[in-house]
């Protein structure tokens, strides 16, 4: 089969042999790809050829897999952007790797999602502090680390968390798993904005108490701010205006980000019927932003 070119972000690298790796990529036009990268870790005599690295964005030339469950072959990789800023903040690196993990987990091979690809680039750029809306860097850089990490981390980690929630939401909507939050999944009665509601993980959406009783669902109360935020993020394609959404109180803002993160995370793990490596660590990072937490 002939070679195909596309652009892609590296989601996962696993060693295949002493000199080769299996690279899982999210490409713009061909969805998730699993490619064997031969000699990806080797250097030449004259010049070091940097191997692929996690979460970098580049142009890929590859030979597609011959059949289901087979690996394609990576022929060429040209780096476009490394998102070096991810290496200046432990929170940014963890959030980015969590995004890679859920993307790998939920996107099927050969199922293109250009919107998702774009959202991933936006997320990585934001976490790497490469756009104006990204807020200040958290000062974690090895070169620039002057201020104590605890106080300097606060604003940007929360900003990063909001971006991450936006990406979770884009991912979950793109693969058609976004729970229904604006009306009861059973009878269709609309939830009034600004009102709390019950959520049923089993039925995959908000539900009235009477409908839930009929179905015997277990319920969880979801407060209005989280529901409203999730709905507004959904309407805006995951690109939230963080200023508009920022509650005045830092503690409230952290709580809200955490509730949304954990809610979407749980929806995804439930859909994939799998546990994740990074969910707990990300939740811990967000929780730590609350004032007065150790």
């Amino acid at each position: 089969m002939s070679l195909v070119n596309d652009e892609a972000v590296v989601l996962r690298l696993s060693d295949f042999s002493e000199t080769s790796q299996v690279a899982t990529l999210l490409s713009r036009r061909h969805g998730k790809l699993r490619l064997l990268a031969k000699g990806a870790r080797r250097s030449t005599k004259e010049r070091f050829v940097p191997g692929l690295d996690l979460l970098e964005w580049g142009d890929v030339l590859y030979r597609p897999a011959r059949g289901d469950g087979q690996l394609g072959t990576l022929a060429e990789w040209k780096q476009r952007e490394l998102f070096l800023g991810l290496r200046d903040s432990l929170a940014a690196a963890q959030f980015a790797q969590y995004a890679a993990e859920i993307t790998t987990m939920l996107v099927a091979e050969d199922d293109p999602h250009a919107t998702l690809f774009e959202a991933l680039l936006t997320l990585l750029g934001g976490l790497a502090g490469e756009d104006a809306a990204g807020g200040q860097r958290d000062g974690g850089s090895l070169e620039r680390r002057q201020r104590p990490a605890s106080s300097a981390d606060t604003p940007s980690t929360l900003m990063f968390a909001r971006r991450l929630v936006g990406y979770q939401q884009t991912l979950i909507s793109e693969i058609g798993l976004m729970p229904q939050l604006d009306a009861c999944v059973a009878c269709g009665r609309e939830r009034a904005a600004g009102r709390a509601a019950y959520f049923s993980p089993k039925s995959g959406g908000v539900i009235c108490r009477s409908c839930a009783a009929e179905r015997g669902d277990r319920l969880r109360l979801m407060k209005a701010p989280a529901l409203d935020l999730l709905l507004r993020t959904a309407e805006s394609d995951g690109l939230v205006d963080s200023a508009e959404l920022a509650p005045v109180d830092l503690g409230d803002a952290v709580k809200l980000a955490l509730v949304c993160f954990e809610f979407l995370d749980e929806c995804m793990r439930r859909a994939a019927e799998r546990e994740t490596q990074l969910s707990a660590a990300c939740a811990r990072l967000i929780r730590r932003e609350a004032p007065g937490s150790p």
Partner: protein
Amino acid sequence: MSTQYTGPLQRLIDELRKLPGIGARSAERIAFHILKTPRDSALALAEAIRATKENLRACARCFNLAERELCDICSDPRRDAGVVVVVEQPKDLINLESTGLVGGVYHVLLGRIAPLDGVGPADLTIEPLLKRVAAGGIREIVLATNPTLEGDSTALHLAQRLEPTGVRLTRLARGLAPGSQIEYANRSMLEEAFRGRQSV
């Protein structure tokens, strides 16, 4: 490829196939080569494997490969124990050592923080490193983890843990392209990276 050889020969082929980069064909070729080889040289291979597994262990101080309690580098009085170069794995140490630039000693982490693989800080030799620093006598720590996302994050984590100790922290210069690996870097690049190391 499903030919079954008689007992021991098949066992040898099966074992060889587990080695990295050895496929079914090569395993068969090597097995037949060993079969033809004189007894003494064939057993020398077996003995070398046994000695490696039984006599090599992690150095009690730096976790480099060692034949005794301390490795050759830690037990060499000419090395400057005040400068500790922190690497991910023994192969990186060997490659850096080949530059001849490191007058200090090492600390091998035995991995890097790799959350996607489920490897966290507690899986590495970070606690022993902190204990080494607390014991005193260390002036500089060179963070020589790979310039990959995981290696850089590991260095950042170490920098945050080591900062309160007040020891001078340096990082290899960017002679190594981001995304590259020390294990595969050539000598001139490593020299450039080591000479140009910067304070963190």
